[in-house]
Subunit: 400 residues, 2 copies
């Protein structure tokens, strides 16, 4: 019996409330002796560490650097080695694109091609309004093909989502993106014989786009990657009997949340928006996932001081969360993003849990090295959900 089956058997609906605050990529590494979390002034986060129990969690397993998808899946109680999601599907769902069983989706970039070479992979980051105009034009002028419906959906700047609807499309396709400038555009290739049809359709689409947009100065080609179909994944209602909500601003995280059955509460980019939404929707859900993106963005950019500032900018809002008196409050990251590495890393996440049934350990700060000495020790992130459900008294006893 695995956790997924145990969860179906043992979970029960109750009135208790869980809040999972994800400070994306907050885990880091020391520069001049202190990590971003160790350098930040964050009295409220530290007070929570003092009030509860702490530990560190490995998103997938020791040494593995996860993408945002697997890292979040693990936190939500889904084995990231079992459930593998294409980035395209997340982007599509996050952008509000409806995806059904016969749909194949991909993330797209408009690019500039000259003399058979990609000279700008982002078409000079065309304005978002330009992108909308071009997508509208494509949807009107792309040649119709029998039994196939294709639509493109504009995103921010040069980004779009392409959706191919036809029977029997496989997502076993390589990226149609040379990933570097100065190279020729790259067609997709089937990764297995079952994807031959999809590959042909996608490559004809790429040619059609180039033909329709040949008059554009910048956005005259389409690069596509992350081909994916709607995955078969149980919802959090099915597995955990939760009424879950996601409070997030970025498409990826909203897409993932929607996929798992969460009600997505879209918010603006201000930190206060997250807490306004939490307060407003407090009565309607028993599980709240709050996504704070800035810590990851600053880590990705390699900006140590800006990441410290992002931590310090969130800290004053914590009392608003605590005032709601959640039965279980967890603050952690999905993965670490040390500024010095300018990207995701394999380092475990600092993790704090406050609950009346959790007791208190002697960790006095929310930071990597402090949490590593906590009562929760070191665990895989997939244990976060059983732990949250248990402390919320939402899991029945296993066996007699």
């Amino acid at each position: 019996m695995e956790w997924e089956e145990l969860a179906r058997d043992l979970s029960q609906q109750t009135d208790s409330k869980i809040v999972l605050l994800v400070m994306d990529g907050v885990g880091g590494l020391p520069a001049d002796g202190k990590s971003e979390l160790e350098a930040a002034r964050k009295p409220n986060l530290d007070a929570l560490a003092k009030a509860g129990v702490c530990g560190v969690s490995d998103p997938v397993m020791m040494g593995i650097t996860p993408g945002s998808g697997p890292a979040h899946l693990a936190l939500f109680g889904y084995d990231p080695l079992k459930f593998q999601l294409g980035r395209g599907i997340l982007e599509a769902l996050g952008s509000g694109v409806e995806v059904g069983r016969n749909d194949l989706v991909a993330r797209g970039n408009f690019a500039t091609v000259k003399g058979g070479r990609v000279v700008d992979r982002r078409a000079g980051r065309i304005p978002t309004e330009e992108n909308a105009r071009i997508c509208g034009y494509l949807n009107e002028h792309l040649p119709q093909r029998d039994g196939i419906a294709i639509r493109v959906f504009p995103g921010k700047e040069h980004r779009f989502v392409a959706r191919f609807t036809a029977a029997g499309l496989s997502d076993a396709l390589s990226d149609a993106d040379p990933q570097a400038e100065g190279k020729a555009p790259l067609p997709t290739a089937p990764l297995g014989p079952e994807a031959a049809k999809a590959s042909a359709i996608v490559n004809r689409f790429i040619d059609d786009v180039a033909a329709v947009l040949k008059g554009e100065a910048k956005a005259n080609a389409a690069l596509l990657r992350g081909f994916s179909k709607f995955p078969s994944i149980p919802t959090m209602q099915e597995l955990f009997k939760l009424r879950p909500a996601a409070i997030a601003n970025y498409p990826m995280y909203k897409g993932l949340a929607k996929l798992l059955g969460m009600e997505v509460i879209s918010v603006g980019g201000e930190t206060a928006d997250l807490f306004d939404a939490l307060e407003k929707n407090w009565a309607d859900h028993d599980f709240f996932y709050i996504h704070y993106k800035k810590t990851d963005s600053m880590g990705e950019d390699g900006r140590f001081e800006a990441k410290v500032a992002a931590i310090e900018a969130l800290d004053p809002f914590l009392p608003r969360l605590v005032a709601l008196r959640p039965d279980v409050l967890v603050v952690t990251s999905d993965h670490s993003t040390p500024s010095c590495l300018k990207g995701h890393s394999w380092h475990p996440n600092p993790f704090l849990l406050v609950s009346p049934t959790a007791g208190v350990d002697d960790v006095a700060a929310f930071a990597e090295r402090a949490c590593a000495k906590g009562l929760l020790h070191r665990f895989r992130s997939i244990s976060a959900m059983p732990l949250m459900l248990a402390h919320a008294l939402k899991l029945k006893k296993y066996g007699a």
Copy 2:
């Protein structure tokens, strides 16, 4: 290769002796800043913590609250997610009821039914002697059915075990117990088509009992739950080459021990009885499981002070155990039973191990937070058996 296979390959019989003292449900939570173990005066247990190495163990996995069956299986080296035991089989074995391959057993309560409703699920807790009289009467007067043998065996107060012997009985049956008073008695239902025959036999038995006992003032109906057949599970002799003994007073634990091939040494309810039996049988076994129940009972009743007293009552006996000089001594709980939760919980167990090959860490007290800082860190309880066998030098090298 899994632990079970490793154990078969690597275990070897030696003269070294292991003692596993299970303080049932001893793990707890702080009230006024201290847990039951932290509040108790227990110089001998603390001396053992000082003399050995400590850690904490999760019975099944983080967040999962186990029943006594899975929690003990894990401690004995059996994966509790692989081996699932019905409570009926444990109760039957613990009561000394012989169970064979064609037998289906269930736990029963005598109950009082009036006007088609269960008015007392425990028949006023009739005296144990009354129960014996009623079971004797039933075994004589229940109508005989072709190809089916049914016997009931009295337990304490209102409890009994029912054994159905016939070819092709499945235990995929729902409980025949409304679980609440004021409701009508509930027949069993088959959980799969293979259990249709067993279901019909059990429901006719329930009707027969009501007919035969209709003159009884209190015990005039039977509620049945935990239907189970004899499970297929290897013994500790087969897996670990041990000559194991169980020193226990309660049926459940004796039943489980018997199932795993332990010689069951039944003892009275006094704490001294456990240690008398240990001394008396010391020469005949190389693995001793000692079960101390009071800590769990007091936790289940929500009696913090009484649980502290139960810990303090056991402590003075520890020197008698140490005087026997076991090669490996482990003291732990099967699961936690915090008084404030009045039931089993998912919190990890404090664990101490004393052995010449274990070394010493700086844990100075046998308690949850103290043990969590020990050299053994945090592990799943299924690792307790490999650890005990290893320190007893009963495991050969894996690979060349």
